[in-house]
């Protein structure tokens, strides 16, 4: 019996080898690491199949599992690189380690589209040696756009606003007052206890809690420090020990002791956070939109009345709110080609194909007549049936396949060459009309056509934003930053969860501990901001 079964094995081997070589002849293969968690490629998707047929390239993808900083550190330590890497905020580490090849000559010779579409940003991308090593994941070749949602906000459950008769909410005190009142009125939602306020504090995502003081002071997301205009020059200031920070943590402390802030908020992880948000019983949370969007999408699908509404909240009415940002390019990170790549010309040609307007249109809008229509003015729109397809996140990812060529790969945003937007979500005449009924109800109540319009117009700053400045690895400023985050991690939960009468004492210790850990960082940021103001 056993022996008879064995003839099968050599045959299998022959099959495997044969099919392997046939495929190898047809398709070029590249290994790509993308620094974002994404399930394995489904094998065949609408856009993926077109791209593969037109380029003859097959990607062997490795997505992020766990922590990106660790992954990049280990990649460098082992010297084992894929052909292309997207390492987000840690891209410059790869360059410092000598893992990246310069792209300028490659682009000059083989990639006319990349050259044309990144022309606006080219100077920002040049490193000290004059070379360009990576392509930011978004380029803005023809002009910016605005989105339906602002990039960050204090979010409030629609039920609260509706119940209170759509009030104007401006300050942190008003915001929490509304939540408190609603909680007193409705201690349970959907049969489970109401959660007043949730703040995310999981590992590196804790900036969702600690970045808030700068926004309460009216600033968009700058990072750990804010450049303030003083006598015609941007001066880097810290906000972690500011009066606003103190007022913010004291408010959270008060709310925690009243049971409004969720007891578990500092020990839950990101999955638990999204799970709670999607349950519809959370009344408020602060976050950057992309970090809570998943929860919002579930709510819009399953419990639209509990959707979150972004609100422009500041510490008091004297503060001028400018929390929105103008879409910008992240010049310190992007897609790169490593020294391990045998065929850099093939790789750059592939990226060049991806970036051209037609490919981008395919990724964002789909196929004309099938996924979108063009009206008599040349503007794109979607029929209700097409819209329904694109509202289903599972379909967009697994059947259409956009995610596999978008977030990590060079792409275009903003206006396109014929007056449409690359992102369907930002097509101006569609922002309102393509919203869900629940979203429209809120927009109507506040008399706006998009949630971004609840906020003031952003201000243009040449250097913006500070957080795209990367620290030299292992430098004193870098070590200081890690220590500072340690202090924040330790003190912030204590500040919020302690008894109100202990707050002052803890605050004094916190200020004493964190002050000395900002000196080197501020020096470095100041130098870089000055440099950007001069050279960009």
């Amino acid at each position: 019996m056993k022996r008879r079964a064995l003839w099968f094995l050599p045959l299998l081997l022959v099959f495997v080898l044969a099919s392997g070589t046939i495929f190898a002849q047809n398709l070029k293969e590249f290994d790509v690491f993308t620094g974002e968690p994404l399930p394995d490629y489904p094998g065949s998707t609408i856009v993926g199949d077109i791209i593969r047929a037109e380029t003859g390239v097959k990607l062997n993808r490795e997505a992020l599992v766990g922590d990106l900083e660790t992954k990049v550190g280990l990649m460098i330590a082992s010297g084992d690189y894929p052909d292309m890497v997207v390492a987000a905020h840690f891209t410059s580490l790869l360059k410092d380690a000598g893992a990246l090849i310069p792209l300028n000559d490659l682009i000059e010779e083989h990639a006319p589209n990349l050259k044309r579409l990144y022309a606006n940003h080219w100077e920002m991308l040049q490193q000290e040696d004059g070379n360009v090593y990576w392509l930011p994941i978004q380029a803005l070749p023809y002009g910016p756009d605005t989105s339906r949602y602002p990039s960050l906000a204090f979010f409030m459950n629609k039920r609260v606003l509706k119940d209170a008769g759509w009030p104007e909410v401006k300050t942190l005190d008003q915001y929490f007052q509304l939540i408190e009142d609603y909680m007193a009125k409705y201690p349970t939602i959907n049969g489970e206890s109401t959660i007043g306020y949730l703040t995310l504090f999981d590992d590196w995502r804790s900036f969702a809690t600690t970045n808030v003081p700068q926004h309460l002071m009216g600033y968009p997301n700058e990072g750990e420090f804010v450049p303030v205009m003083e006598k015609g020059r941007y001066v880097v200031k810290e906000y972690h020990t500011s009066r606003t920070a103190k007022a913010y943590y004291q408010k959270l402390n008060e709310m925690y002791n009243k049971g409004v802030v969720d007891k578990e908020t500092f020990i839950m992880n990101y999955d638990q956070y999204i799970e709670k948000l999607s349950s519809g019983r959370v009344l408020g949370t602060f976050n950057q939109f992309w970090q809570m969007q998943e929860g919002q999408n579930y709510l819009l699908r399953d419990d639209p009345e509990s959707m979150f509404v972004p609100l422009p909240i500041v510490i008091d009415t004297l503060v001028e709110e400018r929390q929105r940002d103008i879409p910008y390019v992240q010049p310190t990170q992007g897609m790169d080609i490593t020294v391990a790549c045998d065929d850099p010309v093939g790789a750059i040609k592939y990226l060049d194909y991806l970036i051209q307007e037609d490919t981008q249109r395919l990724l964002q809008w789909g196929i004309e007549g099938e996924h979108y229509e063009v009206d008599e003015n040349g503007l794109y729109y979607r029929t209700p049936e097409q819209l329904a397809l694109f509202r289903d996140p599972d379909w967009v990812q697994n059947v259409f396949g956009r995610q596999y060529f978008f977030n990590a790969f060079p792409s275009l945003r903003g206006l396109d060459e014929n007056g449409n937007m690359f992102f369907p979500d930002t097509q101006p005449h569609l922002i309102y009309s393509d919203s869900t009924d629940s979203e429209k109800e809120v927009m109507d109540a506040y008399g706006v056509q998009s949630f971004s319009a609840l906020f003031n117009e952003p201000i243009f700053k040449k250097y913006f934003p500070l957080w795209t400045i990367t620290m030299p690895a292992g430098s004193p400023a870098h070590i200081e930053e890690t220590r500072m985050k340690d202090v924040l991690n330790r003190y912030v939960p204590e500040l919020v969860m302690s008894k109100p009468e202990q707050f002052e004492g803890i605050w004094a210790n916190y200020v004493k501990d964190i002050r000395p850990l900002m000196v080197e960082q501020m020096k470095l940021y100041q130098e870089e901001i000055d440099w950007r103001m001069e050279n960009w």
């Binding site: 900083e69 660790t70 550190g73 280990l74 460098i76 330590a77 010297g79 580490l93 410092d96 380690a97 000598g98 893992a99 504090f201 999981d202 804790s206 969720d262 007891k263 578990e264 500092f266 020990i267 992880n269 999955d271 638990q272 690895a473 292992g474 870098h478 070590i479 890690t482 220590r483 340690d486 924040l488 991690n489 330790r490 912030v492 939960p493 204590e494 969860m497």
Partner: protein, 313 residues
Amino acid sequence: MNASLTLAKRGHVFWQRLKQQKILILMSVPFLIHIVIFKYIPIWGWLMAFQNYWPGKPILQQTWVGLENFRLLFDDVVFYEVLRNTLAMSVIKLVMGTVSSIALALMLNEVRKIRFKKAAQTISYLPHFISWVVAANLVRDALSTDGGVVNRALMSLRIIKEPIMFLGIPTLFWWVIGFSHVWKEVGWGAIIYLAAIAGIDPALYEAAKIDGAGRLKQIWYITIPSIRPTISILLIMNMGYLMSSGFEQQYLLQNGRVIDYARVFTIYELDYGIKMMRYSFATAVGIFRSVVSLILVFSTNQLAKRWGQERLV
């Protein structure tokens, strides 16, 4: 007989025994090679600790900095916290793990119903096979204040009135680590003791019975003394792991609130070493750990020798 003759004879005996045991020696050669390749050759990398290592250059062309990395290490206040946490959690895990495994083995040994015994054993060692990534989420859910099973049980038993936030109280973190370690590893740890118990000569028990020893007395006077060599060998070997109290468990269960009590050497090496590309610094921490571990193992071995116990070398 004079000395040189004895030596010659001894040499002769040595070669004879070598010849006799050549099969055994041949069998151990692959493992020796494995150890040399994976444990001794990497020690070459220790040179990094005395350099300012930067990737992309051969190790001998790096800049040398002497003991600078060790100075940085011993000057760091976090280091002493880390040392305390590592030792505390290791000792808690070692003591709780050993005691609970022995207790479980003794109890299982006394069970007469084979089917129950098998089932109990399988259930108790199943958690060993799930990774900490999954296990940590189970622990998080179980300890949650928002309907976690532990808080619910304690509340319905009227031991506590309000749910306790087990993962949010810094001083409790070591014990969360200790108990979750016991939950995950107790069954697995018991297997080796069960095996040792199975090797005990039944005649000893019969003799004890005739002398009138009950069940408890049999455990105390026969079972425990018989597995004492196993216990002491395992203890000595585990001494070597005192300086590395695990990684995933702490890493996945920690949060900002308890970081002062949760950070162990492995996490420290990651946060302040590898993530910042301070490979030299991480290596220095590693060397410190290895040296201390070696001292610990040898001194326990020495102690065991003095107390007349079974020992490693």
